[in-house]
Symmetry: C2
């Protein structure tokens, strides 16, 4: 256990503002050590946080974020910020229930303005706060958005930057350019960023500019002064930076690990009363050889062992993600029409295994889900079979594209939704809790869920042949369990699969909760209840023949899903029975409640939502107990 | 009635390819006349189509879109394209049921690849088709995306352009820059476009470049040649154009009404085997003084009268949009915390009346719904009361922002959803058929609908005070009917409003269909049925006390909504009763079917969906008839 004398003395950012550059350097070293030590134990985002230690300290040194506004983008690089805003003590419970969230979280601290985990939001929310503060007579609050290089090219960031150019007041966008972001950078702009190198001559030119500036007093004259600078000077200041076209003053790139330079530059740009983009080059994973040399592997590692400067990744059990990647590779070998796309998540979706095998047919388009879906629509239009592999939560970024460019055209784009349902440590910003509700209203959409590796493969095989319209398959952030059946029957449109019989009640579980249902069944069997368990497989269309049969037999039905209980699979069951004029008072629905579920283990979260075996068993006891009581009464 | 000798001779684009520049000019004049004449009778998009007549002809002259690919963006500028692809005869039924859609429509013609009406999609779908054709061994198909200047700065376009830079093959993005798009251009980039003027010297430089090019044969050497051009030449070619940074060869701007120049340039760029952006300046409303001078008013006019070179707009009845604008102005006068935002639709949302009155507090951010929502989130965070005014269909562009930046934060952003439900002539690309389903899963969301001007005002007054979380109000593309009540009771959270009593069945209508329900009630009264009609007002939360009372009295319930019948208000009623353990077989749901409804009048569309008075009356007869039969049996 290391000690952190400097870090322990930071009660609030006020302490950071008082420190010298040298003291900040010592603090930075301790922060890196503390973060690495914790992540090695609990897992979490490592390389992104190591890259922004100096930048975060410099921001807190120059600005006062108890008054000024700091907006994070994506937010997984917030650990250094949390360490200096009173949360060092809770680092030990990183990403745990009632511990420190891995993302900015206003419930923890007033220094966190928005809980974020999705990309591209910071510029737009910053503009909103800048306009809001101005209208409320608090325009002296300075606004800073900290955005990574992968986020800045997200469509939402671009829309924000375009609007920022019309904002007649201070707004600082700090571009944290680590040339990496989550995976390798994608898109033409990443090459552009790559060409723009840190130029120390820039500082001298900037000093000249400052001499001019210091001759003036009123802040609103800065823009005029800026225009008075010679074109050569301005070119050097801005390197004819891309974002100049958006109407921003562009400065940099500067070295994101030189605390002196950072503080100096931030002090200077903090006085400019028009939107400024400060381009900062940082090194992802800075501080440890093993993270700096392999920042992708250490982007968000599981627990690992460090010894003698090296780190050994502890390899985990096989995940649904791995199973998906292998199945996809097999399909691509069989069928040259199959193509696959990820939006900036090659590791998280398993496509990092697929892209090297099929570089012509597997694409990473960067954090651009909307584009990813439309590109798939275009490929489907030419007769290909695209598999759009997107986290359930990020699919929310492409609802309109799925509506118009996919569903309205009847194009067979296949959506593979990783991390559907509760996600554990990432918490509320990343649960895939709404995909069924969002997709169910599109005509000709087929919706499926997988519960083990054989059903995943069977569903994919079914989707691959489904050229008549769009389809989506959801699977959880989980290790794949042992196969449920020796031989898994193939998927047939709208057909559930009976796994275990029983006449008292039928559980229709959609996807992974089928395992909890089977455990509950076993528990209840000892109490004399005979419960059937079905793997529902389809949420659209639901198994109407099965539902009719159960309703006619007056068998109570319990639907279970790792999805919002309103608008999902259980609701589809209700609607289908209602459309048939059948009774639904014997239908009971378990799913995620209509409130937020915060970070913790998936086990705890499923328990909190009542969709684990205990929750299912309790609900069945309640239903059957009531029923017996009624019959007896 | 004019005659169109040239236009009548165009059987297919092959005829356009054979024509001389002079003949194309004559054709262009006829096309303008035909379009203007038709729109003056039926309404439709006028100024956008008048602006692209020459550009469309030049594209069809140079490319062969029976083989090559033409992707429209937004698509309301497709009339000239339709006239030369075999649809002149159906122009007379523009935007009518079974007539010519006002947007590209693959059901009409193989020359229309995607049915589109939303912005920013063309570059991405074009990239998908370019990649798909290449993989399928049909890389000789050239791909063209035609994009307007407001669309090009939409986030999705930006994501597409960034990805285009990585595409190693031909792709032509034609930027149709009319400096106007739908309303006045918004955002800093619009000023950038404005500064870039048509430069005829450019053609000479281009000729020099062509001399170099003509010395080479293989297409793949073009890029190399391009790099061999002197920097000065390249700067003149590209004007250091913004999109150069995206890795595109940028050429222009050129004059979009000079057929000779257009054909010449298109022929030249069609041979470049890397992504090219051709910047074309056009004049929106070109050809008639009244449209060119007032392109915003003639963007999408209702029928108008032309006499002596002037046009007289026939003023229509008061719309929900106008009623909203007036109510918003009143609120903004009362409450300085109220701010309002539109995403590029000032006319369509009524904000064109609001912005001049409150230029500091009402914003048009351009076609950037995601940014609009996040900017509202930021403003709400500072304590303001933002009203995000967005068409229901375009809200699909911001689902993820509503999730994370609004709902997860519990921020009181008010969503005012114009054109909710069926939209008439715009057809399937613009129906607001899913907003309730998309928003219902967000905790603390309040959902409301208005059916006349007093309920619109009452709902807005309620929303204005609702600072505890987000809320949304939907209203249709309709004229406001006479107020339903002499005195409209204020909105109370989750309380429906009884409009007419009756013991046989209760209709719970969500929003505008309440008028149809009342008409059906009157009709059925003559047949001896006594039907109650409630204005449901809230879809979240639903009126549980009312539902309990009806269920206990065993009164059949009919829900009616101008929204997908799955996942909407009727479903919320089912779920609520089910949660209470109450019977639902006496609940019947009317809403939009799970298939697409194409262009036509709103009257016809509502009839097709069975949510008009006839559909409601029939359903009530069916329900009560069955019930009577049962009782009798």
């Amino acid at each position: 256990m290391k000690t952190y004398p400097s870090l322990e003395n930071i009660a609030s950012p006020a302490d950071v503002r008082r420190m010298s550059i040298a003291e900040l350097g010592e603090l930075a070293a301790e922060m890196r050590q503390a973060i690495c030590e914790q992540v090695s134990v609990s897992g979490g985002h490592l390389a992104p946080n190591l890259g922004v230690v100096e930048l975060t300290l410099a921001l807190h040194h120059v600005f006062d974020f108890s008054h000024d506004r700091l907006l994070f983008d994506v937010g997984h690089q917030c650990y250094p910020h949390k360490l200096v805003t009173g949360r060092f003590a809770s680092l030990g419970k990183l990403r745990q229930r009632d511990g420190m969230s891995g993302f900015p979280e206003p419930r923890e601290s007033e220094y966190d303005l928005f809980s974020v985990g999705h990309a591209g939001t910071a510029v737009s929310t910053a503009i909103g706060m800048a306009r809001g503060d101005m209208l409320r007579g608090e325009g002296d609050r300075r606004v800073v958005a900290l955005v990574g290089d992968s986020s800045i090219v997200n469509g939402l960031s671009m829309e924000g930057l375009n609007n920022a150019g019309t904002l007649g007041r201070q707004l600082l966008v700090v571009l944290n350019d680590n040339g990496m972001s989550i995976g390798l950078p994608q898109g033409a702009l990443s090459h552009y960023f790559d060409k723009v190198r840190v130029d120390h001559r820039f500082i001298d030119l900037k000093h000249r500019a400052r001499e001019i500036l210091e001759g003036r007093t009123a802040g609103k004259l800065v823009e005029e002064v800026y225009h008075r600078l010679g074109d050569t000077t301005k070119a050097a200041l801005a390197h004819t930076h891309l974002f100049e076209h958006f109407g921003l003053v562009c400065i940099g790139p500067i070295d994101g690990h030189d605390l002196g330079e950072l503080v100096h530059m931030l002090e200077e740009v903090s006085r400019i009363d028009r939107p400024v983009l400060l381009h900062v080059k940082t090194q992802k994973g800075r501080g440890f050889d093993f993270t700096a040399e392999n920042p992708t592997a250490f982007h968000s590692p599981k627990p690992f062992r460090v010894s003698g400067g090296n780190a050994e990744m502890i390899s985990g059990p096989r995940s649904f993600t791995s199973a998906y990647a292998d199945a996809l590779i097999d399909m691509m070998e069989d069928d040259e029409r199959v193509v696959a796309v990820t939006a900036g998540m090659p590791d998280g979706t398993g496509l990092d295994k697929v892209i090297p095998r099929f570089p012509e047919r597997a694409f990473d388009v960067g954090i651009a889900e909307s584009h990813a879906v439309d590109m798939c629509a275009g490929m489907a239009k030419t007769g290909l079979r695209p598999f759009a592999t997107i986290y359930s939560t990020f699919l929310q970024r492409a609802v309109d594209q799925i509506f118009q460019e996919v569903a309205l055209q009847g194009l067979p784009v296949r959506f593979c939704l990783d991390r559907a349902g509760l996600v554990g440590g990432d918490g509320a910003v990343h649960h895939g809790f709404l995909d069924v509700a969002l997709l169910r209203g599109f005509p000709k959409m087929t919706l499926m869920a997988a519960c083990d590796e054989p059903t995943l493969r069977a569903a994919l095989a079914f989707m691959r042949e489904l050229d008549s319209g769009p389809s989506a398959l959801r699977y959880p952030r989980e290790e794949v369990p042992a196969p449920l059946e020796d031989e898994t029957p193939p998927f047939e449109l709208g057909r559930a699969n009976l796994l275990a019989d029983g006449g008292d009640l039928a559980v229709l579980a959609y996807g992974f909760p089928v395992h909890h249902a089977l455990a509950a069944r076993a528990e209840l069997a000892e109490e004399g209840y005979e419960v059937a368990v079905y793997d529902a497989r389809f949420a659209k269309p639901v198994d109407l023949a099965l539902l009719r049969g159960l309703a006619e037999a007056r068998t109570p039905i319990l639907t279970v899903e790792d999805h919002h209980r309103d608008g999902g699979f259980g609701t589809a069951v209700l609607e289908a029975l209602n459309d048939e004029g059948l009774e639904t008072s014997a239908v009971h629905r378990l799913g995620l409640p209509d409130r937020w579920i915060y970070q913790g283990s998936r086990t705890d979260q499923q328990h909190e939502a009542g969709i684990d075996s205990a929750g299912i068993a309790d609900e069945i006891r309640r239903v059957l107990g009531t029923r017996t009581a009624r019959v007896v009464g």
